[in-house]
């Protein structure tokens, strides 16, 4: 098994969406991101992602940078990994990228992550992020 994760090896190729465990499970299962109705005060609605890798900084610091401490740190336990496709994700702030989209309504699909999402992880007992075995095994290191 590789000793490093793909995003540790080539950090410029990936972005990360930090979220709750149950929401990440839904996103990873359906490859769809349903956009909520609460807009970011400056950037509006859509899917936010960051180039801060899991474990790169203490989670408290990540939350401060990304959410201005507006999310409960205790339950922000999961991460969705996407390709850093800058035709979709635009830089909106330092370390922050946004796939801008209006809120999803019942009649329309959410954002299609097929071809963008490449992994999913969650924090384990030791609070570090765990990824499926295949993520480690696939990367040619």
């Amino acid at each position: 098994m590789a000793a490093r994760l793909p995003w540790d090896e080539r950090p410029h190729e990936f972005l990360f969406h930090y979220t709750y465990r149950w929401r990440a499970e839904a996103i990873s299962r359906t490859s769809e991101f349903v956009v909520g109705h609460t807009p970011h005060p400056r950037h509006g609605t859509g899917m936010f992602a960051t180039d801060i890798r899991p474990g790169q900084l203490p989670l408290d610091e990540v939350l401060r940078i990304l959410f201005n401490d507006a999310r409960p740190a205790e339950i922000l336990d999961a991460v969705i990994v996407v390709r850093r496709d800058l035709s979709v994700f635009k830089a909106v702030d330092q370390n922050q990228f946004l796939w801008s989209a209006r809120p999803t309504s019942p009649e329309e699909p959410g954002l299609d992550l097929v071809g963008l999402m490449v992994g999913y992880g969650q924090r384990g007992v030791g609070r570090e992020y765990l990824f499926p075995r295949w993520v480690w095994e696939l990367w040619p290191c």
Binding site: Y20, A70, T104
Partner: protein
């Protein structure tokens, strides 16, 4: 005297540690009927479907149409040969599917959780409760939660859950035609379970508007103004006083929403509208008051038999049965 044997020598050579991985058998925090869509591999040379690692993007007739369409999309973008003719036909015929009920409910709940968290409504939740909210699977449940799940996870009784539910104190979402609870509902259930019965009755009164609600808000407003008067001063004290005054001045606008049970009653036949309105208001106020008093009597008390206030949440153990955990630190703030 027996000799103590020297400690065994340990090898100083370090062996590379196997990375800890996410086990596919780990219980899921989500109960979903949505089918799994293939995920692109990080090396872009294939996909992963239900832990099965596949090289390339060839079409597979054994999969569902949605899964085949996803593979066709991947082939179009990442296969050196592009999508096959069959895959191109699949993509041409594919219709965009509306977001699932579950996806919409999860997004709406996340909005609400953020709003409540920012407002400070969840500030007193102990860490043990947050752990359950984060992963109810560790206690044998998964989102979306039923009322029975809420009972199991919080330790509340069936009557309590039903009362909170009917009083609209538990936020819920509709999934596939059924009312279900998510993280915000679970967090609120933990808070209500910890609250004294009179506190829940007051929240119920405020929720339903009418004279009782206005009275509660005026009392709270007056207390805020009084607290501000005795506060050390500064901007916070001024804002506190202002909030109290606003609460008292605008309490009717705040609580008397159109759908409020206590706020609007249907005029009785043969009575003038003005008179009916007054009478309906008085009746509804009495009814809301008696309802609040009744509910204060009937909901399961949060005091034990000794009458001492219970300060520790009842939390489910790993086996799913209730067990108490340590109390939250006094004045603990979650952020």
């Amino acid at each position: 005297m027996a000799r103590v044997p020297p400690p065994a020598k340990r090898s100083t050579r370090s062996t590379p540690r196997e990375p800890r991985t996410l086990e596919p058998t780990a219980p899921s925090a989500l109960r979903s009927k949505d089918e799994t869509i293939p995920v692109l591999r990080p090396d872009l040379r294939g996909y992963v479907l239900e832990q099965e690692v596949v090289d390339g993007f060839a079409d597979r007739a054994d999969l569902s149409e949605n899964q085949r369409v996803a593979i066709a999309k991947l082939a179009e973008r990442f296969s050196p040969d592009g999508a096959s003719d069959e895959q191109k036909a699949l993509l041409a015929a594919a219709q965009p599917q509306p977001a699932s009920d579950l996806g919409l409910a999860l997004a709406a709940d996340e909005d609400q959780l953020t709003e409540d968290f920012l407002a400070g409504a969840l500030a007193d939740l102990p860490e043990s409760a947050w752990r359950v909210i984060s992963n109810p699977a560790e206690h044998g449940s998964a989102y979306p939660l039923t009322s029975v799940d809420l009972q199991k996870l919080t330790g509340a009784t069936y009557r309590q859950i039903r009362y909170w539910n009917e009083a609209e104190l538990l936020p819920s979402q509709v999934v596939d035609g059924e009312r279900r609870f998510f993280a915000t509902g679970l967090a609120k259930a933990f808070m209500l379970f910890e609250a004294e019965k009179y506190q829940v009755a007051a929240a119920n009164a405020v929720r339903h508007g009418g004279m009782d609600a206005r009275r509660v808000l005026r009392l709270v407003g007056a207390s805020l103004v009084e607290n501000a008067r005795h506060a050390p001063g500064g901007a916070a004290a001024g804002k506190l006083a202002e909030a109290g005054q606003l609460l008292m001045r605008h309490c009717a606008e705040i609580v008397d929403r159109p759908s409020g049970k206590g706020a609007h009653a249907t005029p009785k036949r043969g009575v003038s509208k003005r008179g009916a309105s007054k009478r309906a208001h008085a009746t509804s106020s009495r009814s809301a008051m008696s309802s609040a008093k009744r509910s204060a009597k009937t909901i399961a008390p949060s005091r034990g038999l000794s009458g001492a206030k219970r300060t520790t949440p009842r939390m489910p153990s790993a086996s799913g049965t209730s067990a108490r955990e340590s109390a939250p630190r006094s004045g603990q703030s979650k952020r």
